[in-house]
Symmetry: C2
Subunit: 418 residues, 2 copies
Amino acid sequence: MTTIIKGNIIHAPELGRLDILPGGHLVLEDGVIQAISQALPKEYAGLPVTDYGDKLILQSFADCHLHGSQYPFLGTGMDVTLLDWLQKYAFPVEKRFADVNYARMVYRQLAEELIANGTTRVIMFSSLHADGTLVLMEELERAGISGYVGKVNMDRNGSDELHETTEESISETLRWLDHCGQFRSVKPILTPRFTPSCTDELMAWLGKTSRERDLYVHSHLSENDREIAWVHQLHPGCERYWETYAKFGLWKDHTVMAHCVYSDETERKAMREHNVMAVHCPDSNVNVRSGIAPVRRMLEEGNWVSLGSDIAGGAHLSMLEVMTCAIRSSKLKSTEDGTQPLNAAEAYYLGTTAGHRYFGAGKGFAIGDRLHAVVVDDSRLCSVGEMSLSDRLERALYRVSRQEIKAVYAEGKLVKCS
Amino acid sequence: MTTIIKGNIIHAPELGRLDILPGGHLVLEDGVIQAISQALPKEYAGLPVTDYGDKLILQSFADCHLHGSQYPFLGTGMDVTLLDWLQKYAFPVEKRFADVNYARMVYRQLAEELIANGTTRVIMFSSLHADGTLVLMEELERAGISGYVGKVNMDRNGSDELHETTEESISETLRWLDHCGQFRSVKPILTPRFTPSCTDELMAWLGKTSRERDLYVHSHLSENDREIAWVHQLHPGCERYWETYAKFGLWKDHTVMAHCVYSDETERKAMREHNVMAVHCPDSNVNVRSGIAPVRRMLEEGNWVSLGSDIAGGAHLSMLEVMTCAIRSSKLKSTEDGTQPLNAAEAYYLGTTAGHRYFGAGKGFAIGDRLHAVVVDDSRLCSVGEMSLSDRLERALYRVSRQEIKAVYAEGKLVKCS
């Protein structure tokens, strides 16, 4: 089946580079991009065109770090720092996901809100609960979202009410993995919460399982100073935080590490050497007072950096807002270390291409990829008059909300239209 | 005429204090608050009640510093710092307001968007143009917004295209003032752009006019290091920026000074001694890379601090978003100077009561004041289940957008209902 869509196409094949096609065409066969060009290629002449007129056709967004089980308290609990925040807010809510009906209700709403905001790919923590995690995967797939989702492992330093033994953690992880074959676009990812949450025995088992079953790994790294001190205490033999993952075989190609606020040169080098993706979560890092990650430096050094909402440490589910948070944070960082702030084109790349790459996608709207796109109607927004499309992209980052997102394509299919 | 409204009332009579009445009543006579109480006072029994059910009834918002003429480029131009930003973005757009038709179109849309976002009181820069300023005042009044609006004075250091002579500045200010009597809820305020924009002669005339006509003053103070150095150069006799206003009689009761990022103890003391209001513009200060104002310190010292969107240096027109920006900035400042970050109740106070005070309003919803309120439907937002009203207030700050604002009352009248 051939689908042709037309509109003002703006995509970001490289960091800092926008490819812009005013009134351009995207041609799909069964959802796979065949052509992207200003004029419609001759061989498709006469076929029906979905014409989005003056609207913007942007890449959809990849949210590379968020916690599904924290969605219920999104926008609250902003009064403490990370470790207290886990005990006071995150753990008490997460334990409720033992109830699959509660999980169903929350995750259905979350999936709907993600799609409405143009997020079509996610890398997500669920909770400790295998069944709840399967519910999350079902609801994401139902909404048309692709993703890597993890049952969280935590056999130490939880709370009285949120805890699993090492044996439970292993057997429940295995039971969860046994049921993941049913999903087409949502895949399992191994998810130790963070080093302080997992015994060496569990970490070693996760490393082995990751290797044997060819599974990726998702966790947290160097987010907060108290956390880092704690990790050093737990692993006195490891000079740096990343080594506590490496020593159990969890530091490898496509390992996802959220935050990296305090990752120094050595840790950043270890990321590059193993193709570990750093996920910058600028809103969360400000809200729970962790600090500001050295994003420009990581990019200059060649690190793979994408963006995450990190709800509910982050208060913005919309990746557009996360992108502008990244710009704001980079400006504050620039006064500290003299680096160049991110611009709109760069933030857009980080929230799209850099994250979609995790899923094997190419650069920008790439031929051979299934289409992941959002259609934005920015006509409501006040304008100077004639605005360039790159200015309209910048304005979209700062001003567009779900109301302006008129259509969403995920895996080549139209999954939302309003 | 008696109006009774019922809902979950949350107001902030003091910094850090929330008064909460679940299912409470507000009784108005001709828009003026007669009673605020949990149960409906007996003498009003039997009268019709507008029942907002489980919705929140919050104070509406006061935006104490914004630039009407910068609305057309809101959300763009985020790549430079203050002085370059003025030349590259602000001045070229501002000059277009010589055209009253353009001004009408832009200001009508701005007024609509302000009300839709629950902002019912403003202190606003217009442009250099007397006629455009009158259009802005008309459009605000038509939308139901109260405010102080100023024709901008700038007889030096503008651009080739945006400039006025001292004589023009004076005569156009007089002509503008002559036409301001027609407005009921929108009043003129004298508005030298900032010290570098005005000659001593113009500043002296503005000071004299302020005294003779009993007019308030609105300008910028200590926003950016290059700006401050420039002011020192222009006024070598003044040790601090504020003195350049004081020496011309512009530093006095109800003078509004935006930013105050670098106001030191002495400058802050001078504000307190003269009842000068500092307007904290957290989003703008990050976007144009000015810095972070020492808000907690100012509050501890007893300064009068309110909030401003400062569009288009700020990208958020919604004061709810400005409030959470203030919280975020205070957290970043806290790691620098050890001060306590703002909490949600405090940010709400700064965006409401602290600003409404400029207009003579009392504390929170105060008996004898005309009602300024917004009605928020937060039922769409995911919830833990039973949430306290103070948690719902915090969540509203972080998550409510215009779609959730179902009704707006300004000057005692229902001005928006959806």
